[in-house]
């Protein structure tokens, strides 16, 4: 996986970045949105500088867009912070912020914060970044006495707190306080960890106390120690840059550091993301549920891929527990997409954890808009996690405000990249956060029920389906036999027949057979259902009824029933009899006959249930598809089967 310094969750900067900046700088009509889009890339220090200068030159046009939150940040540092100041405005664009900086002169930190008439106070910053280093705080050299060491830590904290209070009372700003990055160099070696007064010991103690004692209500903590450790201390600290320019860390780390500052500012302005939208196939599990079935997907202990997908689910679950709303956006049949949530033992995420579940064939940008609407949040509150680069690209184009992490092909990287991106940065955590996911869920249920009543048939009609039904024949025989032998889930009786047996059934006048194909506007689904009934004088008994899960929820089974019912009536039968023979895999169709209007007729010896449909009571349905059958003369239009 890439280096955190390269901001690997973002797309690389476009090759013509400079040309685009130049064009924007000289354009008569600046498109601030396009310039803002540039900030969504992994920009280096020079590029952030160029973007920042564009922002300064055309400030009013960016402000006029009305989508960016203005924020002023004062920078009071005990080292060179000019390059950080230069990187912040460009980075701020990435987080929806229009950042203005005001830098305190080198060595003037205390004066600026303790004087209510300082130029810093006059700039009226919203926050002051207090960038103090270990040297300035007296923690860069060891003490060999515990009391002295504790006193040094205490005095460093007192100093920080006095500056924080100065920011509040003299400048009217909250403070952003840093933990300190531990040094690479030890004095004793591992023993430093045990020796009060070693630099590592003092910095550890200072960081702990700073986090628990020094952060007031208006203030925020930037955990620079954690950031530096994530990068690697030997990369973070660059002694030559410290000596020749008083740079507190390597220049390469500035874009990452600036991103962390802007995350905090965005969180303080309520701009952190609120909802994680998850793709399913090859994101929450390995494989494709529609093709591989619940037994075939890779999820859970025992395989590297299965565990990686499990880790993604665990992260999502933990995010939910801290108040991030979860949604699903998948190109799938809803019924198939739900199967793992209901049946797979190792799923961490269950249906009840997903506040808005969208599985259909509509494009994802449209679905993301619908999800945001259902949850009553903006699309700029969404993070969209999808393994498919084409889907990511499309969403970025259609909805640039949605955060789309560039996760690559290795699911084992997803958790780290998502966490590194910091989309859900928080500056507090309270009771409301804990309850938020449930609150959104209640909203979503109401709203999705309303949408469903209004739209299901419209949606099905929009698929422009043509269902063609004909008896078994030589042409379809091999495929019929294949389906009979491999269908597990949507299979009422799970009776297996060889191709030879299928040929016998085909020519048996006592059998009524159907092979069903479905074409929709997305293409030909091929043969998706196989049905065999035994003809009796009074009653026709269903021997085999199976269907591909890809077309669940399309009402194809109703078209099938209408077809057989009509044929049975024409030959004088008065009943259809259905049987459900349970297996480990076909619980999906336990209520199949009941849903189609059959009456329960009793338990079968040896397990299973029997169902009866009285043909006298049966009404042919109106269906949202064109049904064509070879027995009928000509072709008939939608729903007019009678």
């Amino acid at each position: 996986m890439s280096d955190p310094l390269s901001l690997p969750w973002l797309l690389p900067a476009p090759a013509d970045f400079r040309a685009r900046i130049k064009a924007a700088r000289t354009a008569e009509d600046l498109d601030p949105r396009a310039a803002t889009g540039l900030a969504a890339h992994a920009l280096d220090l020079s590029q952030l500088g160029q973007l920042g200068r564009l922002l300064a030159a055309r400030h009013d046009e960016f402000a006029g867009m009305g989508r960016l939150r203005p924020i002023t940040i004062g920078i009071a540092a005990t080292h060179t912070a000019d390059l950080v100041a230069e990187a912040l405005p460009g980075t701020g664009l990435r987080h929806g912020l229009l950042v203005t900086t005001h830098q305190v002169d080198y060595g003037q930190t205390a004066q600026a914060l303790l004087d209510s008439k300082s130029s810093l106070a006059e700039a009226k910053p919203d926050f002051v970044l207090l960038a103090l280093d270990a040297l300035a705080l007296g923690l860069a050299r060891p003490f060999f006495d515990q009391a002295e060491a504790e006193a040094a830590v205490q005095s460093a904290l007192d100093y920080v707190i006095s500056l924080r209070d100065g920011a509040k009372s003299n400048v009217g700003a909250g403070a952003i306080l840093h933990t300190l990055a531990p040094p690479v160099e030890t004095l004793f070696g591992s023993f430093d960890a045990r020796q009060p007064g070693s630099v590592r010991w003092m910095i550890g103690r200072f960081n702990q106390r700073l986090a628990s004692e020094a952060i007031g209500e208006a203030d925020m903590l930037l955990d620079m120690a954690a950031l530096a450790e994530t990068v690697g201390l030997a990369h973070w600290h660059d002694p030559l840059r410290w000596h020749d320019a008083k740079m507190p860390f390597a220049l390469d780390a500035i874009p990452l550091y600036a991103d962390h500052v802007c995350r905090l500012l965005a969180a303080a302005r309520g701009l952190s993301r609120k909802c994680l939208v998850l793709d399913l196939d090859n994101t929450l599990w390995g494989g494709v549920i529609g093709d591989d079935g619940v037994e075939g997907i890779r999820l859970g202990q025992g395989s590297a891929a299965g565990e990686a997908h499990l880790a993604i689910q665990s992260l999502a679950m933990d995010l939910r527990r801290r108040g991030i709303v979860l949604a699903v956006c998948s190109k799938n049949e809803e019924a198939a997409a739900l199967i793992p949530f209901r049946e797979h033992d190792e799923m961490v995420l269950k249906e009840e954890h997903i506040s808005c579940f969208v599985a259909n064939w509509t494009d994802k940008a449209t679905n993301l808009k619908a999800i945001a609407q259902t949850l009553n949040i903006g699309t700029d509150a969404l993070v969209f996690l999808d393994d498919n680069p084409a889907e990511r690209e499309r969403v970025r184009q259609e909805l640039p405000e949605v955060a789309v992490p560039e996760v690559g092909e290795e699911p084992a990287d997803y958790v780290r990249l998502l966490a590194m991106a910091g989309y859900f940065e928080a500056v507090s955590f309270g009771e409301e956060d804990r309850k938020r996911a449930e609150m959104y869920q209640a909203n979503a249920q109401r709203s999705s029920a309303m949408q469903k009543i209004g739209n299901l048939d419209d949606y099905l009609a929009s698929l422009e389906m043509t269902c063609s039904i004909r008896p078994f024949d030589e042409l379809g025989r091999a495929r019929v036999a294949q389906l009979i032998n491999k269908s597990n889930q949507f299979n009422l009786t799970t009776r297996r027949y060889t191709e030879g047996e299928v040929a016998t059934i085909e020519s048996d006048p006592g059998k009524f057979t159907m092979q069903v194909r479905l074409v929709d506007r997305f293409g030909d689904n091929g043969m998706i259902s196989v049905v065999v009934f035994d003809k009796g004088d009074q009653a026709w008994r269903c021997d085999t009824w199976l269907m591909s899960c890809r077309v669940l929820g399309r009402r194809v089974e109703e078209a099938v029933l209408a077809h057989v019912a009509k044929a049975a009536r024409a030959e004088g039968a008065i009943q259809l009899i259905g049987e459900y023979l349970p297996t480990a895999k076909n619980v999906l169709v336990e209520k199949h006959f009941e849903k189609l209007g059959f009456h329960f007729a009793g338990e079968l010896a040896g397990g299973g249930t029997s169902w009866v449909l009285d043909l006298a009571d049966y009404r042919l349905p109106e269906l949202p598809m064109d049904v064509r059958s070879s027995e009928e003369a000509g072709q008939q239009r939608t729903g007019v089967l009678a």
């Binding site: 130049k22 220090l45 020079s46 590029q47 500088g49 160029q50 030559l240 320019a245 740079m247 390469d252």
Partner: protein
């Protein structure tokens, strides 16, 4: 790497770091010729060059450079 390749790459880096367009390269180019070339952007420049060529300059090497031509020679000697 040929010296011309080095100087072409250096020109691109200078354009990027000092934010100037269509820079005319000459060996005698130095901070005096470019408006935004101050001590801080000089460091940015050094770091960008180090990264682009996969080399590391010592402080005394940096301080000993009078113009961009000398830098190209230094890079060449480090890559040899």
């Amino acid at each position: 790497m040929e010296r011309t390749e080095i100087t072409e790459k250096l020109t691109e880096i200078m354009e990027d770091v000092f934010d100037v367009d269509d820079l005319e390269y000459s060996d005698s180019l130095s901070a005096a010729d470019i408006e935004d070339w101050d001590s801080l952007s000089n460091i940015r420049f050094m770091v960008a060059v180090e990264k682009a060529f996969g080399v590391r300059f010592t402080n005394s090497e940096i301080e000993g450079l009078d113009n961009i031509g000398q830098m190209a020679d230094l890079i060449r000697s480090k890559q040899a």
